[in-house]
Symmetry: none
Subunit: 180 residues, 4 copies
DNA sequence: TATGAATGAGCTTTCATTCAT
DNA sequence: TATGAATGAAAGCTCATTCAT
């Protein structure tokens, strides 16, 4: 069995993502991680502290999954289309739970600036990756906006329909952009 | 002074939107509405029940504000651009709190199907309005995705930057669409 | 439709007996009686007041049912045996709810002396009827004790077994008593 | 001072028995046990859970008191008579509060099957003890019925009169039974 | 007479956190 | 390092009753 700290973090990976932050109590976490309460507070200053570590781990995990999924792509266009397929793959895997960062952003009071900062930072990193791939600033923003919207709306409607439509849109955008 | 039911609903309009659902307790609502606890439960079966009434009122309010804001538009293009300006207006007015429907969707457990249904229904109504204005199905979905994404990302980054970029994008899309 | 007061009383006849006193709220009573809350308090000073009226009505009802059931008896022995059969009949009719007087006695605080008095009074009336029929004081007490015990234990075990056994016992007691 | 769990249980031994279940709030229990509310719920899943533990403790206590009281008896007859004297002793000690099991049975909704089961089980254990002592099945049931009735009616009338009469009855029954 | 609106006091339960060992 | 015990504060909700109309 792995170490307590790791078990707590792994448990939060499941619970925070599936149930959200406020709906997941410390008690449930320590029970499912099989760790004592005092042990929890030995490793994490507070629940908010765990939340931050959770975000870091979740981001690493999500990015590496995405990179894995798109690694075979030979062209930029193919890579982007695959990244939208990745959303479909994740929706199926995680039952349309959407994005942990956006979900938790919504339920955390605005005065918890540290948590909101880390959410923003990770999301900005994602956006940056679009801008790195596409030198055209407007086009990068355009695709990023569609990407975020696909995560959101597929969670909302519990359907991949808009992701499929977005793939057509993206295809069009990239082809007309290359033709210039 | 207005009637208790109205005061409760009005208070929820402020608190649910600004603080979210879980962070807003019954106690705070009744205190700020200046109503007794039993009186609250005379008018609303439960907190979830109030949430549903809140959604209905919020949707009516938001739509009427939007229609007001865009009413002067003479062309479809102008109307859409104004609807993005409306998001900027609301961000300023409501301090980048984004969309109550999406915010609360994120923090409500999935098994509260009645609440999730009303969120989906209202959001679907919004999406429908795009499809009514634009016969081109893909184009309507495209603009709708950008619109939702603008609400979301401007809340996330506390900035109207992506809304401004979207206006350029939308302008382009509509002009090339009309030229066909 | 009957008058409000009557409807309230009739509703309490069902609810107090089936659910007990504390588990039956005023709200449920007025709803099922289709009467306004203020109307309730017009007719009854308090819930306790209704309880007393309920006891009076319940007692009258129960006694008249018992007399009906045993009216055909030609001998004293037959009458007593029929009164035990009556308990079986009531258990079937009322799903082993036992005696309202004893049930409610158990859940009313001891300092509500008025309610406890009326319970005692009605129960004493029942006991007196045994003593009127049987001049032998000990024998009357004996049968009365068995009778109460049958009500109680058949509710407890949800079974008429001990009533059946009691009929044999009573038969024996009365026959040996007459032979003296 | 003893441990919280023990203090809670001991307090419930007094309050549940004296006031009943519904009339005894968690607040009163924790105050008289000098324990915090959260501490209560650390040790007991719910009030119903405490009720079950209370029943187990009460039953052990009651049986051991009964055995103590009757331990000196040299004949079966003496033992039974002493067990009726025990009821008088308990009435005086506990101010005619009767039987906790029957009292609480009356005020608990029928759908709480777990609680009703434990009541029935303990009561069946008591009844079994009569059948173990007296091989004659009818006689055992007879004495058991009288015994339960004595507990009940002495609470109802706040008097030991019927217990005293029962002692005469029991004496007679046992002597005529032995003479056969 | 009849009523819908309103209430204070109470209920059981859960929360994230700390402390003594 | 690790832990079981304990907590103050707050959660959502229900009670029998009264009052203004």
């Amino acid at each position: 069995m792995s170490k307590p700290r790791e078990r707590i973090l792994n448990t939060s990976m499941i619970l925070f993502h599936q149930q959200g932050y406020n709906s997941t109590g410390i008690n449930q976490i320590i029970e499912e991680a099989d760790v004592s309460k005092a042990s929890f507070y030995q490793h994490f200053k507070s629940k908010d502290d765990l939340c931050i570590e959770f975000f870091n781990k979740r981001f690493k995990y999500w990015v590496s999954e995405l990179e894995n999924f798109t690694s075979g792509a030979k062209t930029l266009e193919e890579k982007f289309l695959k990244s939208f397929d990745f959303l479909i793959y994740m929706n199926q895997k995680e039952d349309f739970r959407g994005c942990s960062f956006l979900n938790i952003m919504s339920e955390i009071p605005v005065d918890k600036i540290e948590i909101h900062k880390i959410i923003r930072d990770h999301k900005a990193t994602l956006r940056d990756s679009f801008h790195k791939d596409l030198k055209n600033d407007i086009l990068a923003a355009h695709l990023y906006l569609l990407f975020e919207s696909c995560i959101l709306t597929s969670q909302l409607y519990r359907s991949n329909e808009l992701i499929e439509k977005s793939k057509l849109i993206v295809q069009n955008l990239l082809q007309s952009s290359l033709s210039h």
